[in-house]
Symmetry: C2
Subunit: 413 residues, 2 copies
């Protein structure tokens, strides 16, 4: 048996980030940037007002107060988006809106709340009384203050969220260069499998793994391609597995246990370069990893829970690495286990569990359903995998245990 970490390291050491593609801003959401995003403009592109108010000359209003307001002639009214043509001379001011360019001559903006309209309601041709002094440059955002043309606003390797999209748009990018999402082929194996729409006859079960896996692939940032069920014949298995090179990754379920009727292993040994591991974990001990025609290949066990846990431990980090992410481990938290648990001491247990936040700020972890179920109920109700270490055959209630959060993304604080 090899440890979980050993298996994970071997997998990740043989996985590399994919090539890049250019996509629209909306398509880039959640992807990893493959090139710095460079600004084609100064931000701000021009000196502009941070407030609705009056553009003034500092020298005119340095002594303004409620008690002795300074009266200025209003010479212009500047909305956002309009280039002012009338300069502000001594004793003058221009009404100015937030974001509008500051006119020549003015070197500060007085907030409208600190003025009182004089003649003509404080509009052009009338007057305004300034009730407070300003400092030079007050309420003015200077050209290039935040970013200069040619500077990067986003860096290669960053994950793209809504704010990064807005940021890229504001400096001239309507597409972005990102890492490609891995195309992941999904194959289920076994004579016992029937499609979901078929009512299983005696000895048959439905192929649910293709569906849960497709959802896991999508959630991990890959593109799932469900190729179907390979029957327990060498021909059938070979026909599906040989399609591996059409994809960036292939995942199969079932067919690699010690059972006598597993032909997948034989075909795999013939077609690929593969390791058959017994990983010191439960569920999901038998794991196959290698390549078929150069494409990374994962053979997960066929029990639905084992499939999902195996995906979490080995396939998801691989997909994330291919997609360019650097954070590859799900967030972990320490929680207080709320029940005694017996286990085999030779392997790590990943119990399907539910974390709840205690009023004190810590976490409590409880199993989220029957752990030997053929159904995914406990996985569905859970939000974590409670990790019980090798070397222990009993973990008492109240013990602090490590929990792997499967409800939030890698890299989250």
């Amino acid at each position: 048996m090899i440890s979980v970490e050993e298996a994970q390291e071997q997998v990740l050491s043989r996985i590399v980030a994919l090539d890049t593609e250019r996509v629209t801003l909306l398509e880039s959401l959640g992807r990893v940037l493959a090139a710095d995003v460079i600004s084609d403009i100064d931000v701000s592109p021009f000196d502009n007002s941070a407030m609705d108010g009056y553009a003034v000359r500092f020298a005119d209003v340095r002594d303004a107060s409620e008690a002795s307001p300074v009266t200025l002639q209003v010479v212009d009214h500047i909305p956002a988006g309009v280039q002012p043509e009338i300069p502000v001379g001594p004793g003058q001011a221009s009404r100015i809106m937030t974001g509008a360019p500051v006119p020549d001559g003015a070197d500060a903006v007085v907030m409208v709340e600190r003025t009182r309209a004089g003649s003509n309601g404080g509009s052009t041709g009338g007057t305004v009384e300034v009730l407070r002094p300003v400092t030079p440059g007050e309420n003015i955002r200077s050209r290039g203050e935040e970013v200069r043309e040619g500077e990067a606003v986003l860096l290669a390797g960053e994950t793209i969220g809504p704010a990064a999209i807005g940021l890229a748009a504001s400096v001239g990018h309507d597409t972005l260069l990102v890492r490609r999402r891995p195309r992941v082929a999904i194959v289920s194996t076994g004579d016992e499998l029937v499609e979901v729409t078929v009512k299983p006859g005696p000895g048959k079960i439905r192929n649910s793994n293709s569906h849960s896996l497709a959802a896991q692939v999508l959630q991990a940032g890959g593109e799932p391609y469900v190729l179907g069920i390979a029957r327990d014949t060498e021909e059938d298995t070979r026909a599906l597995l040989k399609r591996a090179p059409e994809f960036d990754l292939m995942v199969t379920t079932g067919g690699v246990s010690m059972g006598d009727f597993d032909v997948v292993k034989k075909v795999l040994e013939e077609m690929g370069k593969l390791d058959f591991w017994k990983v010191a974990m439960r569920p999901g001990a038998p794991q196959t990893f290698g390549t078929i025609g150069g494409t990374p290949f994962f053979g997960l066990p066929g029990n639905p829970t084992s499939t999902m846990v195996g995906f979490e431990m080995f396939v998801r980090p691989a997909i994330r690495k291919m997609a360019g992410f650097t954070a590859l481990a799900r967030p972990r938290v320490v929680a207080t286990l709320n029940h005694d648990t017996k286990k085999k001491s030779d392997r790590r247990y990943f119990l399907r569990g539910r974390l709840t936040r205690s009023p004190g700020g810590g976490y409590t972890a409880a199993i989220s359903g029957n752990q030997s179920s053929a159904l995914l109920t406990a996985m569905h109700r859970g939000n974590c995998l409670i990790s019980l270490p090798e070397g222990e055959s009993f973990v008492a209630a109240g013990t602090e245990v490590m929990c792997i959060r499967i409800d939030i993304e890698e890299g989250t604080a």
Copy 2:
């Protein structure tokens, strides 16, 4: 001014969940179930083996041990997916694979590790030695043990993750009835806006809000429809706003501040039933909410950060409620503020900040960039909004503050 909570309550009291639609399993990922998912089968559908081993009669092997093994005649070999036809009589056993149906006569399964092959390698026609006793029913999963036909495995209102998809597939569902995702129209307003591909001339800025908003809508579980830029004329504004009834929700940015050149407000008052709020928050105080032709309408302020924060506070909860979610508030954590902050005492501040987990398990919060920026840099680098309450004009470093996590979903522990 009204409080953030008052505004949120008023919004949510006027929003209802949308109708339902039937979608494929993969399309249902992340959606809210609108009907219980009922099993059409017993699970397990038949008594089956939980192990690779031998199906035996308890009475035959009750005294088996390493020292005095019990030798049984192997009469059959049952792979998964095949209905056995040969019963197990006294003194007999059948080789059985995990998941295979238990043959008549057998009432327990001995793990292969607790047997030794006898004649013919333990295969059919040969013998097997059983080295340990079993209990009645050991390693057998009984028919209907987990779910009976007609029982629900998932309930209306639950959020669909990969495990729920696998669970639904295993009980016969290849489509699911879910709440419809809100179709959200996005309109930017302002003469100062140019499209992203245009280099802004004097006084102009790029329309980045449509892009960041589209990404926020998608991430919230809605479908964004970017309708474009409404110029500051009544005709142009009216032409776009009158399209509201084509959608489930309309969001505009800009045009509802106190600025003189805002025509949006005038058109809104003529076309819709709207409230113009000054919310006691910064950024994002001016918020408009109401309906146009029956469609909920949000008017967010035009500054990119104000737009995003306003979306978080008011539009996202509305989208989530429409999509059927019951958890509408982002997770909150208490964190230690790492720097002194001055503020106006009449409103709540939402600083763009970054939470980091302290070694002790608590959180520290720091601002993630220039808070008065015209760019979304601080929003991009942040993972939370640091909430500084009304009534305070200074919050000292070391104070415990509430942070709204914008990096993880509502309802997360």
